[in-house]
């Protein structure tokens, strides 16, 4: 049955010339699980919000959106609130009240249900989502993943027929992402709720969704099944092909038609293509090693670092020793709450270890005066770039920083111009930092950090909430920095990003560095904590780390013709 019928939808934000959504037509059947996919800023959020008039942005709209045959703006506010649920990106911002139980009840209170009904529905939902254990807790004690589950649950208590989700997992760590998506799958399969989801984590969504929509520049370019996506994207020659999961990418490089959508399927396909013993397995040693510049002092040297936030608290960093050579890209990976960010803040001098030594460029950190430390030695980009912006526009923000860092106005100007060119910030200079997209914010913040021309650059989750195209751009910036002899150290959940672009990687677990090696060797040594491409190729091409590697190996072995 048709639940939503969208015909000829156009939308323009106030004061803009082009259309932000143009001529979108689409029919959504009851029980569909639809993935909306595209670059950030392609109009996904704008589109989703059109389906929920209560929060639709101001602007000019034309075309029709019918919900069960009624124009959506003519639905009563009550129906709109209860039948169409909306979950957005930031888990923190959606939580209204201070207790979990109250948050769950919020929507039903608005709808005016009596205590008995609310009690029943809240209990049902809490059981469905498995949140009875934290039912009475204050929300600020929850983890990010739990918060997003809470947001989902507090929309679900209103028993919506359609659920709209705008990049709900972009702020979560991988484990929380899987948990959240598994919950969505249950909602779709067990409760029959129609789902429209915009997402960057294709690898996990493709197997559970029923249709994929691809958007670019406010247009709907594709409306296909998950298995058709790979070949269709290839035909489109879109730069977002980059974002496809390894299983799709590898298959689509050789064959047309329906692609595998899970690691298992891709592995099966690969093993049918090739006999068990490949001709020339590329062992890790065959690859050229990254030159290690041992002659210089290491950029960072940690000697038995111990750190905890408070005297009585638990240790977060437990005796970490490591050396990071100058001029390399170094990634620290690991799960949530293992102390990665804390370790980075210790390297950056934000937190002082209570035992052990931090040496930067051969000098003990406490001996470097503050003036020098953050003026040319360390540049630190925190997880939330917004915590750096002070001024109303990106331009004034940079100016402020430049004049504070260089007493000489001319040097400051010059430095600013260089940074602006480097990050292509010209068009953004007049904008308010909060009006930028996630990727643009990341760049503006990084620009601010790099103004002082630091030699060691520390980045906390720089790829969080950024689309594949932007990630590639970021990696190019990192390479340029490396060529300039800078050391870039980043902490990330993003295994694929680290595997592709880092020189060295380290795995952190429970406050300790468990393993550390050149990237390729590092991931070859892991069997689970590694890229999808590597998992597909395992046992077939031992050397394949990225999908490009595997594709190349396949070419060598003449698969697909």
């Amino acid at each position: 049955m048709e639940q939503l019928k969208i015909s000829g939808l156009n939308f323009t934000y106030p004061g803009r010339d082009g259309k932000d959504l143009s001529d979108i037509s689409l029919t959504v059947q009851k029980g569909d699980f639809i993935l909306l996919f595209g670059r950030s800023g392609c109009g996904k959020s704008t589109f989703l919000k059109q389906l929920k008039p209560a929060i639709a942005p101001y602007g000019r709209r034309s075309g029709r959106i019918e919900y069960d045959g009624t124009e959506i703006t003519e639905l009563s506010e009550r129906d709109q609130s209860s039948k169409i649920g909306f979950v957005s990106q930031n888990p923190e911002n959606q939580i209204v009240t201070d207790k979990v139980w109250h948050e769950l009840a919020f929507g039903l209170e608005s709808l005016g249900y009596d205590n008995r009904t609310i009690r029943l529905r809240v209990a049902e939902m809490a059981s469905f989502f498995g949140i009875q254990d934290w039912f009475l807790k204050p929300v600020n004690e929850l983890s990010g993943g739990q918060r997003q589950i809470l947001n989902l649950a507090s929309v679900m208590v209103m028993q919506p027929e359609v659920l709209l989700l705008d990049e709900p997992t972009s702020q979560l760590d991988p484990i929380a992402v899987s948990g959240f998506l598994a919950m969505l799958r249950r909602i779709n399969e067990e409760l029959g709720v129609t789902i429209l989801l915009s997402e960057h984590h294709l690898e996990e969504v493709l197997p559970i969704c029923s249709r994929v929509l691809f958007m670019e520049g406010g247009r709907l370019l594709l409306d296909v099944t998950p298995r058709e996506l790979g070949s269709c994207m290839k035909r489109l020659k879109s730069e977002m092909t980059e974002a496809l999961p390894a299983c799709v990418k590898i298959y689509a490089a050789f064959s047309e038609g329906e692609t595998p959508i899970t690691v298992r399927e891709a592995k099966q396909w690969l093993s049918t293509q090739i006999s068990p013993a490949p001709k020339s397995p590329a062992s890790p040693e065959d690859k050229p090693l990254f030159p290690r510049r041992n002659v210089q002092e290491p950029a960072v040297r940690l000697e038995e670092i111990w750190y905890r936030y408070e005297k009585k608290a638990e240790d977060i960093v437990k005796g970490v020793s490591m050396e990071i050579p100058q001029g390399c890209l170094y990634g620290i990976v690991g799960g949530n709450g293992v102390g990665k960010s804390t370790l980075l803040s210790v390297i950056g001098g934000v937190n002082q270890p209570y035992r052990g030594k931090v040496k930067l460029m051969g000098v003990a950190l406490p001996k470097i005066p503050n003036g020098e430390r953050y003026r040319g030695l360390i540049g630190y980009l925190p997880q939330d770039p917004c915590s750096l912006f002070v001024r109303n526009t990106v331009g004034r923000d940079l100016e402020d920083m430049a004049y504070a860092a260089f007493s000489d106005r001319q040097t400051a100007q010059k430095r600013m111009e260089r940074v602006i060119d480097f990050f292509h910030l010209k068009p953004l200079l007049g904008r308010h930092p909060y009006d930028l997209s996630g990727g643009e914010q990341q760049c503006a913040a990084l620009a601010k950090v790099l103004l002082t021309d630091p030699r060691i650059i520390l980045l906390d989750e720089p790829t969080k909430g950024i689309d594949a195209v932007f990630k590639k751009r970021l990696s190019k910036l990192f390479y340029t920095l490396k060529e300039q002899g800078k050391t870039v150290i980043l902490v990330s959940h993003d295994i694929d990003f680290c595997a592709h672009y880092m020189d060295f990687c380290a795995l952190m677990f429970n406050g300790e560095i468990i393993s550390e090696n050149e990237t390729r060797k590092f991931f070859m040594g892991n069997s689970f904590y590694t890229t999808a491409a590597n998992r597909i190729a395992r046992g077939i091409f031992p050397g394949g780390l990225t999908s490009e590697d595997v594709i190349e190996q396949c070419r060598k072995n003449r698969i697909g013709g």
Binding site: P53, A54, A56, P57, Y58, G59, R61, T73, N392
Partner: protein
């Protein structure tokens, strides 16, 4: 719509002609030495009720509600951040800015809510209604004077108003409350001694308000105005798209 003002009118009439005289009568006849204390607490609460109830009855918009809460939370955080210096708190400054940018009603609410919630962290006590009322009235007054064109974003005027209102209204009322707990009425030496003992603290508080206004008035007003413009807050076009 005609029903609402009626209800409010009835409420005020009941309050002025029934509740207040009854309260005074009860205090005078039963409470003897505690009558002033009792009557002043009661009147304080009666004065706050119309503000709170009229806000409640006009069913405020989500954005209005969250804005008031955000500002209150900021002032609570501010109070917590400077807790080691007694009476050095930015609450009054933030409340004044709220009153100016968002109007007298919101000013009152930010003040009263800050008072109540901050005591939730520092401990409720007999002082809670006094603090809620004092901060609330300061916010209300700031908004009211701004509407009349007397108080503008000029920093000097703002600081003078901030210092005076903190010293006279907040200081005066809080000292009155402590004086009334330890003395049987107005006028005795005990009353004045207690009242005057608070003045050094009031001076610190007034100075802190001036300092905070001096530094945060401009950035904060800028930001509030941006939000108002960008999202059409506090205006009626809040409801639906198109």
């Amino acid at each position: 719509m005609s029903k609402k003002p009626d209800r409010r009118l009835i409420f005020s009439v009941v309050l002025i002609f029934l509740a207040i005289p009854l309260t005074i009568a009860f205090g005078m006849s039963v409470l003897h030495d505690r009558r002033y204390y009792f009557v002043s607490v009661a009147i304080l609460i009666y004065t706050m009720l119309p503000f709170l109830l009229s806000f409640e009855h006009r069913r405020p918009k989500a954005r209005e509600v969250i804005l008031i809460c955000s500002l209150s939370a900021i002032s609570v955080i501010g109070r917590a951040a400077f807790f080691m210096i007694p009476e050095f708190k930015p609450v009054a400054a933030i409340v004044i800015i709220a009153g100016i940018c968002l109007g007298p009603e919101s000013g009152f609410l930010v003040g009263a809510l800050s008072g109540f919630v901050s005591n939730f962290f520092f401990g409720q006590g007999a002082w809670t209604p006094w603090q809620m009322f004092s901060f609330g009235i300061i916010g209300f007054l700031a908004g009211f004077l701004h509407q009349r064109g007397i108080l503008n974003e000029n920093r000097a005027v703002l600081c003078v108003f901030g210092g005076l209102s903190t010293f006279v209204i907040y200081g005066g009322l809080m000292n009155l409350s402590s004086a009334l707990t330890v003395s049987p009425g107005f006028g005795q030496d005990v009353f004045w001694a207690t009242f005057l003992a608070g003045i050094p603290f009031d001076l610190v508080h007034a100075a802190s308000t001036v300092i905070f206004l001096l530094f945060i008035a401009k950035p904060m007003t800028e930001r509030l105005i941006r939000i108002r413009v960008k999202y059409g807050l506090m205006e009626d076009k809040d409801s639906s798209a198109q």
